[in-house]
């Protein structure tokens, strides 16, 4: 049994302690906004926040989040009202959309620690997240917009 806080709610889950957090969130809890992309930490599609840090949930065994606060895209806001989510729509960022939960979670980590990042700081921070549709420049624009509009 592993117990942690998921999107503000306490959960206790019966799972193989070695099972990656990604699959526990998706298949046991049933929150599917967090995506499987590579299973090896290369692409960032599975990015969630663990105690405020953006982490690759495909590489984190569920036992490692005992007592931690985990936030997924579903928990970023109740109604898509996070400034990044609004900016993502305004800049028409998503195409296939599959990587975007991870992109937004990664960007949210940046803005939490640096509310007014430079373009270079955005690129450096976001470089580990792949978007195969190539929406990167719109992601930059959306982060800048969210930074401005708060």
């Amino acid at each position: 049994m592993v117990s942690f806080t998921l999107n503000g709610r306490s959960v206790s889950i019966e799972a193989d302690p070695k099972a990656p957090l990604l699959w526990v969130i998706r298949d046991i809890v049933g929150l599917t906004g967090t995506k499987y992309g590579c299973g090896a930490g290369f692409c960032g599609a599975c990015t969630v926040h663990i105690d405020g840090r953006a982490q690759r949930s495909c590489r984190v065994p569920v036992s490692a989040v005992e007592g931690a606060k985990v936030v997924t895209i579903e928990g970023l806001s109740a109604d898509s009202s996070h400034p990044l989510q609004k900016a993502w729509v305004s800049e028409e960022v998503p195409q296939c959309g599959y990587c975007q939960s991870g992109q937004i979670m990664k960007a949210a980590e940046l803005l939490a620690s640096n509310p007014t990042p430079t373009r270079q700081q955005i690129v450096t921070h976001m470089d580990s997240n792949i978007c195969r549709c190539g929406t990167y420049n719109r992601i930059i624009a959306a982060i800048q917009r969210a930074s401005k509009e708060g």
């Binding site: 729509v89 997240n129 929406t135």
Partner: protein, 723 residues
């Protein structure tokens, strides 16, 4: 606006029978689109489902097909809504079912298909769906006219409302749906009755894509997100060498692993089914399979590509003429100067972000199956699953899901067929997910090619003759011959295009812009080489010496102006130019690039693309799609390379298969469309194939040297600089 997965318990017949209001079902016959009255549609529920429903409260439901981020999932219902004059805010979208007979567009053989490839969805559905929308409008007007006792010819429509200008009376579409009847014989719509572009309210107005809001909060449903009661999880391991099959494996060991339910022999692989996906992945990793031997065991992509040149020079090699006009041989013989160059390209992998997966469930009697698939071709998914199961198409229902990227990979359903076979073997609903490693190892790649181009320049300095030979595996699908034809932009009088086909034991497939990628690289790099030798600016050379068509000239001149082609560039940077062509569209592209000469890394700073794609249904979405095509082209030009050794793919994940990341991006991408009233043509791939030649041409401007082998990896760049 949520696109929900189909609720499997409710049959469409019930939906049809139970819904209030008016239902319009279009049956697409080979003679075009017409509407079937609801009574007939209800009796034909196996084939029919409504494209359009109007509820008494004014809500309108319109069906749509595949959405993989390119935007046509919104454009397609938008075309219906435009002609029926629907209030778009009242329109909800639903996925069309897997019935290409009803929901397809006509292919060359006259069959209806739901194929969404080659960036052609809007182009192919344009006529039928606009006509269908206009028919709905006519029926609504006729009902209002009868209600008011006036001549239908005097009535007009506004967004979801019929208006009688004489009396200022209005009836909303919802009000009409309360009493309206869909007649047995439906009105014909002549092309002249369709809206003129100036009257469009929705088309060309950048109506936002409906899927955007679902893709910022995790609610867009991909097939990998489907969860059914009692569902079990599967993964698969395929033979590393394509064509070989499993002879035996450590079955007893695998079956003792936690959660493992079954192992299943698949065509070319082994499926493992378990209670959780984590357990299925563990079982897959533990599989030790003895594979059969086959002719692909010794295949080596590098050595094979090296040998292609000898096939080109072999007079005994089989030749297929792709196109020929005039007398290219005579033009070359009598030329003032002949140019000749050879080009090569490597295998590339789709690398769509959502690894291939599908969910399958049989009914209790085992004679019907439902499959959830993010498909680029729902009809083909249905047919391939039916074939594999020995079913008729009517026994298969494939539910569309959002696609986590397609790029050509998701039109063949090989993974969905496997999910169906696993569900049959285990008698349980199964979700099959290929691991990323499997997705690459068992990928279907853009083929390797060798190309030889020869051009004849006459005494006036004009290109008079053109010869293009491509060597490689065409797969019977124009996988390497597409994009050889230049006549839509260079109307050269004497052309000879040939294929020297080689069959390999490597899975190959359409890959965004397909053969245009390497063919346009060769063509446009070659033209640049001639221009430089002739001492002319590459754009001027094209405008003066290449028999350029008026449509292409407009693109070229527009992009040259946009990029300020003749202006001085920052130190260490240069511009490269290339024309583009794909799916009926023409384009022109300029890149501004620099080189890190020590590392051999080419950096593209700015990209300008102009495209002539006819009427642009959703300009904002189209612009995003063209930007995406640019990035795919950059990735293909600079980074992407699959190699096969001893029959097996050498790459295994995103660490060794490199794609564009944010730090590789140009700081600026400018996209513009030529104003046009012509019918729409494809836009999702127009910006992909011109990137590599534009970069190669900028490289020449910077270094005086030419790149002949895609991708332009640092090793190749360094070798070229050193040569």
């Amino acid at each position: 606006m949520t696109m929900t997965l189909k609720a499997p318990a409710i049959s469409r017949r019930n939906v049809l029978a139970g819904i209030g209001g008016m239902t319009f079902s279009f049956a697409f016959g080979t003679d075009g689109t017409h509407i079937l009255p609801p009574a007939r549609a209800a009796t034909e529920s196996a084939h029919m489902s409504p494209w359009v429903r109007i509820a008494p409260d004014g809500r309108i439901t319109i069906l749509t097909v595949t959405e993989m981020g390119q935007g046509s999932g919104t454009s397609i219902p938008l075309m219906i809504a435009e002609e029926m004059d629907a209030d778009w805010d009242k329109v909800a979208l639903e996925w069309a079912p897997s019935k290409p007979e009803s929901y397809g567009w006509p292919d060359r053989a006259g069959n209806r298909v739901m194929t969404v490839t080659g960036s052609r969805a809007v182009m192919m559905y344009w006529n039928d769906l606009r006509t269908a929308g206009a028919q709905v409008r006519k029926v609504l007007i006729a009902n209002a006219a009868e209600h008011w006792g006036v001549d239908p010819g005097t009535l007009k429509t506004g967004p979801s409302v019929v208006i009688d200008p004489a009396s200022s009376r209005r009836l909303s579409y919802g009000e009409i749906a309360v009493f309206g009847k869909v007649p047995a014989t439906l009105p014909n719509v002549d092309k002249s009755e369709l809206k003129q572009p100036k009257d469009f309210r929705l088309i060309g107005r950048s109506v936002p894509r409906r899927d955007l809001s679902l893709k910022v909060n995790g609610t867009a449903q991909y097939s990998i997100d489907v969860k059914l009661p009692g569902m079990v999880y599967a993964s698969a391991l395929h033979s590393p060498v394509h064509g070989n099959s499993p002879e035996s494996w450590n079955d007893a060991d695998i079956k003792t692993m936690p959660g493992v339910i079954a192992t299943v022999k698949l065509p070319g692989g082994v499926g493992v089914v378990a209670e959780t996906f984590v357990q299925a992945m563990a079982a897959r990793r533990a599989l030790k399979v003895v594979w059969s031997k086959g002719k692909g065991d010794s295949f080596d992509s590098t050595r094979t590509l090296e040998a292609y040149a000898t096939i080109h020079s072999d007079p005994a090699a089989a030749v297929k003429v792709v196109d020929s006009k005039g007398d290219a041989t005579a033009a070359l013989t009598s030329a003032a100067k002949v140019y000749k160059a050879e080009y090569r390209s490597d295998y590339t992998y789709h690398a769509q972000m959502e690894p291939l997966n599908a969910v399958a469930r049989f009914n209790e009697t085992g004679d019907k199956i439902e499959v959830w698939d993010g498909s680029q071709d729902l009809g083909r998914s249905r047919d391939l699953i039916a074939k594999a199961l020995g079913f008729s198409p009517e026994q298969v229902d494939v539910h569309q899901c959002y696609l986590g990227g397609g790029f050509g990979r998701r039109s063949l359903a090989d993974y969905a067929v496997e999910a169906a076979l696993l569900a049959r073997a285990t008698k349980q609903p199964v979700k099959l997910v290929w691991t990323r490693e499997e997705d690459i190892a068992h990928g279907m790649f853009r083929p390797i090619t060798f190309q030889c181009l020869e051009a004849a320049v006459d005494a006036a300095g004009k290109v008079a003759g053109w010869r293009h030979c491509v060597v490689g595996d065409d797969g019977g699908l124009s996988l390497i011959t597409g994009g050889m034809r230049i006549s839509s932009y260079y109307a050269l009088p004497n052309q000879y295009l040939e294929l020297r086909n080689v069959d390999h034991n490597v899975r190959i497939k359409h890959w965004r812009a397909v053969a245009h990628n390497f063919n346009l690289f060769a063509i446009e790099a070659m033209v640049d080489e001639i221009a430089a030798d002739q001492g002319l600016d590459p754009i001027e050379f094209r405008l003066q010496r290449m028999s350029i068509t008026p449509k292409a000239r407009r693109c070229v001149e527009t992009v040259a102006k946009m990029a300020d082609w003749t202006a001085k560039r920052p130190e260490g940077r240069a511009l490269g130019f290339a024309i583009s062509e794909r799916s009926g569209s023409l384009g022109a592209c300029i890149v501004e690039a620099s080189i890190d000469r020590r590392a051999g890394v080419i950096r593209v700073h700015k990209v300008w693309v102009v495209a002539d794609g006819g009427i642009i249904v959703q300009p904002a979405a189209a612009k995003a799609n063209v930007e995406s095509g640019i990035v795919y082209g950059l990735s293909s030009a600079l980074q992407e390379r699959v190699t096969v050794r001893e029959g097996a793919v050498e790459q295994s994940n995103f660490d060794d298969y490199s794609v564009m990341r944010m730090s590789d991006m140009p700081e600026e991408m400018a996209v513009a469309f030529i104003d046009s009233d012509a019918s729409p043509t494809g836009l999702g791939e127009i910006s992909t194939p011109c990137i590599a030649p534009a970069i190669a041409n900028a490289f020449h401007k910077l270094t005086g040297k030419r790149l002949y082998h895609m991708p332009f990896t640092p090793e190749r760049v360094l070798a070229t600089l050193k040569a």
